[in-house]
Amino acid sequence: MSLNTKTALEIGQMIKNKGISSVEATKEMLANIKARDKKVNAYVTVLEDEAVAQAEGVQAKIDKGELKTPLAGVPMAIKDNICTKDILTTCGSHMLYNFKPPYNATVSDKLAESGAVVLGKLNMDEFAMGGSTETSYFGPTGNPWDVTRVPGGSSGGSAAAVAARECTYALGSDTGGSIRQPCSFCGVSGIKPTYGAVSRYGLVAFASSLDQIGPVGRDIKDCAEILTMISGHDPKDSTSIKRPAFDFSACFDGDLKGMKIGIPVNYFGKGLDEDVKKPVLEAADTLKKLGAEIEEFTMDIVDYAIPTYYVLACAEASSNLSRYDGIKYGYRRKDCEDLLDVYYTSRNEGFGMEVKRRIMLGSFVLSSGYYDAYYKKGLQIRGLIKKSFDEAFEKYDMILSPVAPTTAYKIGENSSDPLKMYLGDIYTVSINLAGIPAVSIPCGFGKNGMPVGLQLIGNVFDEPKLVKAAHAFQKITDFHTRMPEMAEEGGNK
C-alpha cells in the first residue's frame, strides 16, 4: 500500500481501523528512506530497528485500547537539535557528532506518550544557524523537488523528509524562520508557535529568547494536531506559558466571513521575486473569495528586523555555545599540547564557519563598550517591533505575507555570501522577535517549478485563527497535495 497521498491524521485513522498496522506504515517509510535519502540526505540518523520495535509496542497498546490518540502509531522524525535519550543528537555539528543526551526533551516525552514512532533524526544547519541546511557537518540536504537545490533551513531535513514522504510529519525548530522558510521551499506546511506555547526543555539552544519547536506536516490540519500534542506548560521550562490547551475543533469549517487580513506593503517591495509575489497575492485573492476582508497597510519598523535579529540572536548564541569545550561531551581533538590547546583546537575544528561567524558577532555586541550601542539598542527595537504588531492586530485578525523573497536556490549559490543569506530571513525574523505565531503553507510554484509558500501571522496564541484560514485555503486549493516526482507512486524505483 502507498501512503504517499495520505496525511498523518489519515494514516492514524487507518491504523485505528486496522487498514494498516503501525509496523507496516513504519516499514513503508523506512523503505522510502532507503530508496530516497541517498539523494535527499534528510536524515542524520535512521533508527531502523528501533522504529520497528517501537511500532510493534505502540501497535500492541493500540490493540489493547490503551492508546487512543489520533496520531498513535504514525511514523515521524525529529530535527537533530531536539534531545532524544541515548540517541544521537548532533545539531548538525561536528562538535556534537557523537553526543547522546542522557535525557529526553519534553517534546520527545510527549511524542512517546502519544504513541509516535520515531524513524530518526533530521538534518539541519549547524546549530540551526543558516537558511539552507548547507552548513550541516553531515552535508547539505537536497530539495526533493530538485535535489540540486537547497531545501531551506535550518529545518531543511524536516521539510525535505516530509516532502519526499520519508516520514509522515516532523518536528522542526524556528528561531528566525527555520520552520517556515524550508516549508515554503519544499511545498509543505508548518507552524512557528507563539513563544512559550511549546516547551524548549531539551531543545539545544541557539537563541533562547527566539527558539520555538513546531510541526512540519503535509497539511495544516496535521500541523494543528501535532501542535496540540506537543504544546502546553512545562514546569521544566520557565518561559513556557500556563494556559488552556489549544482548541482547533472550530477551525475546519472553511468559512472566513468577517475575518480581517492585513497586507503590509513593506513586505512586497524591492527584493521580492516576481515568482513569489504573484502566487502570494493570488492567495490573498483566494482568501478574499472565502469571505475574508483584505486591506493593505504599512509597517515601516520591519526594515530594522534583520539587523536587530542578528544582533540579539548572535549575542545569545555566543553565550549558549560557549559550553562546548571538547571536554565533557562531543568532539575532542586528540594529541593536544595542553588544556588550552584542547579547547582551542576542539572548538576550531568542531564548529563550522557560520557558527564561528555568529559566535564572534555575538561576543562583539555584548562586549564592554559596545553593549549599549548594539545589544541594548537591539532590545529597544525589539520592543518597537512588538508594539507595531500589537497595533496591527488591533485592526486585523492576521497579517499575510510571503515567507521568503525567493524560491529554493541552487546548493552553493548563496553560501559564500552570508549577507545575502541573512536577507532571505527578511519576512520571518520579526515574528520571532515579537514572539507571535505564524504558519507557512504552499500557495503555488515559481517558473523554475519550485514551491512557493504563504505566511499568515497572528497575535499571541491566535494559532486557531491561522489554522482556520490556512485550512480554508487548503480546502479549495491543491498546492499542498502535490508532491515531487521522487515521492510519487513508484518513486522508490
Binding site: F99, R200, A205, A207, S319, K328, S368
Partner: protein, 479 residues
C-alpha cells in the same frame, strides 16, 4: 605620613536550601564527586533552569535583616566566563536589578558604633570545584557544588580598619545563621569573602588604588591579610611607587600576598539578561509576610535576655553567639522557668563540653526538656549541683534521660540524716590532724572534712545538711 585604610567586602554566602537554585539536586556538602548532579546543573545541551523560590525568600529575609530596599521587579543576568568548573560557561547572576539595595549594618568596635553600608545583595549560582591530584598530576572537576545558591553581599567601602571588617563579618555571619539562610560554615566554604583594600593619606577623601583578594574563608586570614596588604601598599607609596589595581592571592602560610591578575587582563563578562528565566515580581504582601515570619535576630535577643531574664550583658552575648545555643537556652527556660540556672549550666558545662569534645553548635542535639529536667532535679534537692553536672555530661555524650539516669545510677541525694551524722563522726575520727589545724585556727581544714564526708557518701548528700551537721559537731569539739 599617616595613612587611612579603606576596605570594601564582597561576601558570598551559600544558602541552606535543600535543593539547588535551578534544579532539584541536593545542596548537601560532601558526597562522592559528581553524584549531586543532573543534566541541568552539569550544563548539558538543551537544559533550562527553573528558579527555586526558596532562594528568593532567603534573599528577601537577608535584605530585610540588613535594612535593604527590596527590588520589586527582579531579573537574572548571565555572566559569561570560560572556566573548567563552570559547565555552562556562564553563571546566572544579577547585574542590572539585584534583589536588595541600599542597606546598612551596625557594628561596634571598642565601644564605638558605626554603620557599614550595603551596596547590594544579589542572587547567583555557585560553580563547581577543581581538585588537583598531585599523584597523577592532573586536575579533576567536581560539579557537586554547581548550582548551589549563593547570595553576594556587597558592602560600601566603609571599613577603616581590620577590626571593623571582622566585627562586620561576625555580625553578618550571626545574622545569616539566625535567619536560617545559611549555615556559614567557613571551613566548607559556605561563607567566603573578596576583600578590596586601598590606602589614602589620613584626612584625604580620594580613595587610593585598590587591590582585591578573592575567596578568603577565615576571619583570621582576612584580618591578617588586611594588616599585611595595607602595610605593603603604604610601603609602596612611601618609597615613591604606585599601587597597581590587581587581584592578589593571600597565602596564609607565608603570611604574604602575591600578584595574580592585573586590571589589563581583567575579564569582560559580557553580561546580558538571562533569556531562560522570567522576571520575578515581589509583592508588598510577600515582603510583609517575610517580615512577619522573620526570626528574632541576635541583637534583639541579647537585649531581651537582659531585660526579661536578668542575664548579664556578657552571658547574653555568649549565649546568643550561636543560634542553636540560644534556642536551647530559650526552650529549656520556657519549660523550667529558671533562666539563671539554665544560663549557668549552658555557660559552664555546655561550653566546657563543647570545647573539650570539639563539638560545633550546629551539631548539638540536646533536648531542651532534658536540660529543664536536670534543673528541676537540682532545684527540688533530689540531686546536688555536682551530680547535676555529671548528669548533664551523660545527656551531652550519650543522650540519656536525666530522671532515669539518676534513678538507675542511684544518684539521688540521701535524706537519712543519721547516716550523714555517722559518716561525719567517722571522718572526724580518721582525721585528727584536721581537728588540730582547726583548733590552731586554720579554717581551711573544714572544707577538707566536708570533702571527705561527701566522698564517703559518694556525693549523694545534700551539702547543706553536711555543713550543718559538721558545724554542730565541730562547735562541740572546739568548745
Amino acid at each position: 605620613m599617616n595613612y587611612q585604610i579603606v576596605v570594601g567586602l564582597e561576601v558570598h554566602v551559600e544558602l541552606s536550601t535543600k535543593s539547588k537554585i535551578f534544579c532539584s539536586c541536593t545542596t548537601e556538602f560532601g558526597g562522592e564527586p559528581n553524584t549531586h548532579v543532573c543534566p541541568v546543573c552539569s550544563g548539558m545541551p538543551g537544559v533550562l533552569p527553573v528558579l527555586n523560590k526558596k532562594v528568593v525568600e532567603f534573599a528577601v529575609r537577608a535584605g530585610l535583616a540588613t535594612n535593604c530596599e527590596i527590588t520589586r521587579f527582579n531579573k537574572f543576568d548571565r555572566k559569561n566566563y570560560f572556566y573548567p568548573d563552570l559547565p555552562k560557561a556562564y553563571q546566572v547572576s544579577q547585574l542590572y536589578l539585584p534583589i536588595c539595595r541600599n542597606g546598612k549594618v551596625e557594628i561596634e568596635v571598642d565601644g564605638e558604633k558605626k554603620y557599614i553600608g550595603i551596596h547590594e545583595i544579589h542572587m547567583e549560582e555557585d560553580a563547581g570545584k577543581l581538585v588537583h591530584d598531585p599523584w597523577d598530576d592532573c586536575t579533576l572537576v567536581d560539579y557537586n557544588r554547581c548550582g548551589v545558591p549563593l547570595l553576594e553581599i556587597v558592602s560600601e567601602p566603609d571599613f577603616r580598619s581590620a577590626e571593623e571588617v571582622v566585627a562586620y563579618l561576625t555580625k553578618l555571619r550571626e545574622t545569616m545563621m539566625y535567619l536560617g539562610v545559611s549555615d556559614c560554615k567557613m571551613q566548607e566554604g559556605s561563607m567566603r569573602a573578596d576583600v578590596n583594600i586601598s590606602v589614602m593619606p589620613m584626612g584625604s577623601t580620594k580613595f587610593g588604588t585598590r587591590t582585591e583578594m578573592k575567596n578568603m574563608n577565615s576571619f583570621k586570614a582576612i584580618y591578617r591579610a588586611i594588616k599585611y596588604e595595607s602595610k605593603r601598599q603604604i610601603e609602596v607609596l612611601e618609597s615613591g611607587g604606585v599601587v597597581t589595581q590587581e587581584t592578589r592571592r593571600w597565602d596564609d602560610n607565608k603570611d604574604a600576598s602575591f600578584a595574580m591578575r592585573s586590571k589589563e587582563n581583567a575579564q569582560d563578562y559580557r553580561y546580558f539578561p538571562e533569556p531562560d528565566l522570567l522576571p520575578i515580581e515581589i509583592s508588598e504582601e510577600w515582603i510583609d509576610n517575610a517580615k512577619k515570619t522573620m526570626p528574632e535576630l541576635p541583637e534583639a535577643k541579647r537585649a531581651r535576655y537582659m531585660s526579661e531574664f536578668g542575664l548579664s550583658e556578657y552571658d547574653a552575648s555568649v549565649i546568643t553567639a550561636e543560634r542553636q545555643i540560644a534556642y536551647l537556652f530559650e526552650d529549656a527556660t520556657a519549660i523550667c522557668r529558671k533562666p539563671k540556672e539554665v544560663c549557668n549550666l549552658v555557660m559552664g558545662e555546655l561550653m566546657r563540653l563543647m570545647s573539650d569534645t570539639g563539638t560545633l553548635a550546629e551539631e548539638l542535639e540536646i533536648d531542651p526538656q532534658k536540660v529543664a529536667d536536670i534543673i528541676e532535679l537540682i532545684d527540688s534537692g533530689k540531686i546536688n549541683r555536682n551530680v547535676g553536672k555529671e548528669v548533664f555530661e551523660a545527656v551531652f555524650k550519650e543522650n540519656v534521660d536525666p530522671v532515669k539516669y539518676v534513678e538507675e545510677k542511684g544518684l539521688m541525694m540521701l535524706d537519712d540524716d543519721s547516716l550523714v551524722e555517722d559518716t561525719i563522726d567517722e571522718v572526724i575520727k580518721n582525721n585528727p590532724k584536721s581537728i588540730e589545724d582547726l583548733k590552731a585556727g586554720k579554717d581551711k581544714a573544714k572544707g577538707f572534712l566536708v570533702g571527705q564526708t561527701m566522698k564517703a557518701l559518694k556525693g549523694k548528700a545534700n551539702p547543706q545538711t553536711v555543713n550543718k551537721i559538721l558545724n554542730e559537731k565541730l562547735a562541740e569539739i572546739l568548745k
